[in-house]
């Protein structure tokens, strides 16, 4: 009788420790926590099947957070959280966290400043928050887990209490982190904070306004800071007004300094040529084509739109758009360089942005003295992959507007669309921005309109909300009824929008 050979050996799974990138991310989180003066220990290991784990522990040994990669998926577990989170990437873990615990951010802080959390820093924020929330929440959930007869109502109460505790803990963490930053060298942090602020995302505006691919793009820049692990992105502080006493935080505002006297020409964007006292900026100062955009062939609608853009200036100083001043001519030059190059490659865009960031890291001067950055939109559209379905105004503009709403204590309630295509007038009376039509495509005319908008608004701010770019006129009187917006969709699906005040003496968008 012939025997049959049976294999009793289990299939051997190849051990798979954390990759270098994953470890870099995890240790970056630890560094961010250390910056926030949190004594957090870390440890890591492999299971008997080769799945890696990484833990953040309190000094007393309690495991705050466990992050594992099991069968290719990432898991985050903490006794302070109501449940385990699972995602396909670190970034998605952060997203899952926000989905589960929608902490209200931006937060109006006591000193009137506004905080925005960069998506790439979400995990460190989460873990830092857990650190502060540990005593309140972990015990609550341990008790809950051991109870067998928890009613739905009790569950709701628990979650409400949990959210409140987490919210308070988040504030504690942010305060701790910011005090850590302030005590450190402003030079050390200014470059990175400029980056963070410029791409700051108002992540808590809802899942639709979250991270995604932009985080991956930011990760491309991380190597610039690998030599200085003490610098880690966590929060950017958006000040509603310039504060000379807080000059080192000034770059966090992320304004486009289009009104500054010096506008760098393309050839001036090298490391050596960057003025030592210039403010580091994210945006490239180069225009690959060197072309000046000129769109004189606008249709009547475009003429109307141009007029709107021109009039989108703060009601308090609309007349200040005096382009006879040298700085305003420079602003004109900068605005005219705005160029949307749909054909440039991702790699080139990333490389270009990385070069600018490298400039930023080498800049050692006062961050409070903006010298003017030429804003090149194509870097965003081409460096930000958008895989999501076509954007609708309904979600994105609500996010964009909420970005400003949160800044105002009374809350800018709203938006109502009066135009079927791409623009509307924001009112303060309701919260619904009911625009259902798709955005018009971003084209040369849109580009010209934005140019015009930037010309008319030297204090314009650029806000990156999710994958979208929003230009805001920089005026903070959000109670005004004359807030108007206009938006387009790029060929990548991202939105570019302008939001500004319309001078009441002009009849803008009907």
């Amino acid at each position: 009788m012939r025997g049959q050979v049976l294999a009793f050996l289990r299939p051997v799974r190849r051990q798979s420790d954390w990759t270098r990138e994953e470890l870099a991310e995890l240790y970056r989180i630890q560094n961010a926590l250390v910056q926030a003066r949190l004594m957090v220990e870390v440890d890591r290991g492999l299971t008997d099947e080769g799945d890696p784990w990484f833990v953040f522990c309190r000094p007393d040994g309690d495991v705050l957070v466990n992050i594992s990669r099991i069968d290719g998926d990432y898991y985050l577990h903490s006794s302070a959280l109501p449940g385990q989170m699972c995602a396909k990437s670190f970034q998605d873990l952060a997203k899952a966290f926000v989905d589960q615990i929608p902490i209200q951010v931006p937060v109006n802080r006591r000193n009137g400043t506004q905080l925005f959390v960069h998506p790439a820093a979400m995990l460190s924020v989460l873990i830092g928050t857990i650190f502060f929330a540990w005593d309140d929440t972990s015990h609550a959930f341990n008790r809950k887990a051991s109870a067998e007869d928890i009613s739905d109502s009790a569950d709701i109460v628990d979650r409400a209490g949990f959210k409140a505790a987490f919210q308070a803990a988040f504030h504690s963490y942010v305060d701790s982190f910011l005090s850590g930053i302030r005590d450190a060298s402003p030079v050390q942090h200014s470059a990175f904070l400029a980056l963070i602020s410029t791409v700051a995302a108002a992540f808590a505006l809802g899942p639709a306004a979250l991270l995604d691919d932009f985080s991956h793009e930011i990760a491309k820049f991380a190597h610039i800071f690998d030599d200085d692990q003490s610098v880690a992105p966590v929060v950017a502080e958006h000040t509603s007004q310039d504060d000379a006493n807080d000059a080192q935080m000034a770059p966090l505002v992320g304004k486009l300094a289009l009104n500054a006297a010096a506008v760098h020409a393309p050839a001036e964007a090298s490391h050596t040529d960057l003025p030592q006292d210039s403010e580091p900026g994210l945006f490239a100062t180069t225009n690959p084509t060197g072309e000046k955009t000129d769109h004189a062939d606008s249709s009547s609608q475009n003429v109307k739109d141009m007029e709107v853009a021109r009039n989108m200036s703060g009601p308090d100083d609309l007349s200040s758009a005096d382009h006879t001043k040298p700085e305003d001519r420079a602003a004109d030059a900068a605005a005219n360089q705005l160029h949307l190059a749909h054909g440039s490659s991702d790699a080139a865009a990333a490389e270009n942005a990385a070069a600018v960031l490298a400039d930023a890291t080498k800049s050692t001067g006062s961050p409070a003295a903006p010298q003017g950055e030429h804003f090149e939109v194509d870097q965003f559209f081409q460096s930000v992959k958008v895989g999501s379905p076509a954007l609708t105004v309904t979600s994105t503009d609500q996010s964009a507007l909420a970005f400003f709403v949160a800044e105002h204590p009374a809350g800018l309630a709203a938006g109502s669309n009066t135009d079927s295509s791409s623009s509307g007038t924001v009112t303060t009376n309701n919260l619904t921005l009911a625009v259902t039509t798709d955005l018009p495509s971003f084209d040369a005319n849109a580009e010209a309109i934005i140019n015009q908008f930037l010309k008319a608004n030297p204090q314009a701010e650029a806000i990156i909300d999710h994958q979208n770019v929003i230009f805001y006129d920089g005026h903070h009187d959000l109670d005004s009824n004359g807030l108007t917006w206009q938006a387009w969709e790029s060929d990548t699906g991202a939105m570019v929008a302008i939001i500004g005040h319309v001078d009441p003496t002009h009849s803008a968008i009907a």
Partner: protein, 108 residues
């Protein structure tokens, strides 16, 4: 100076946790269980928790002691008493220290 016996920052406590982990690993292997299988038996939410414990990170929650003892086929009282030796040596010594000295006297 009193040092909290359960605070891992104390090197001695760290060593005790590692010893506890080693003991748990031996029990598991003796029982022929993988870490994943043990995690299932004790109701751990994630099986990497077992690996962490075996390297000395974290503790078994008290409300899971019985499940662990059962999964590892050991007497629950004995299981907890041994764990206490590692997790809370001060309490262990108060409660069971005399037994050791009694045994020593008998043996001596």
């Amino acid at each position: 100076m009193y040092t909290h016996a359960q605070h891992r920052s104390d090197p001695e406590v760290q060593e005790l946790r590692r010893m506890a982990g080693q003991w748990l690993r031996e029990l598991r292997e003796k029982r022929g269980l993988s870490q994943r299988q043990l995690a299932t038996l004790v109701g751990a939410e994630y099986y990497t928790f077992i690996s962490q414990l075996e390297t000395g990170r974290g503790r078994i929650p008290p409300d899971r002691y019985r499940q662990w003892a059962e999964a590892l086929s050991v007497d629950a009282a004995e299981f907890v008493r041994t764990l206490m030796q590692y997790y809370d040596p001060v309490t262990y010594d108060i409660l069971f220290g005399h037994q050791k000295s009694d045994q020593a006297q008998v043996g001596g």
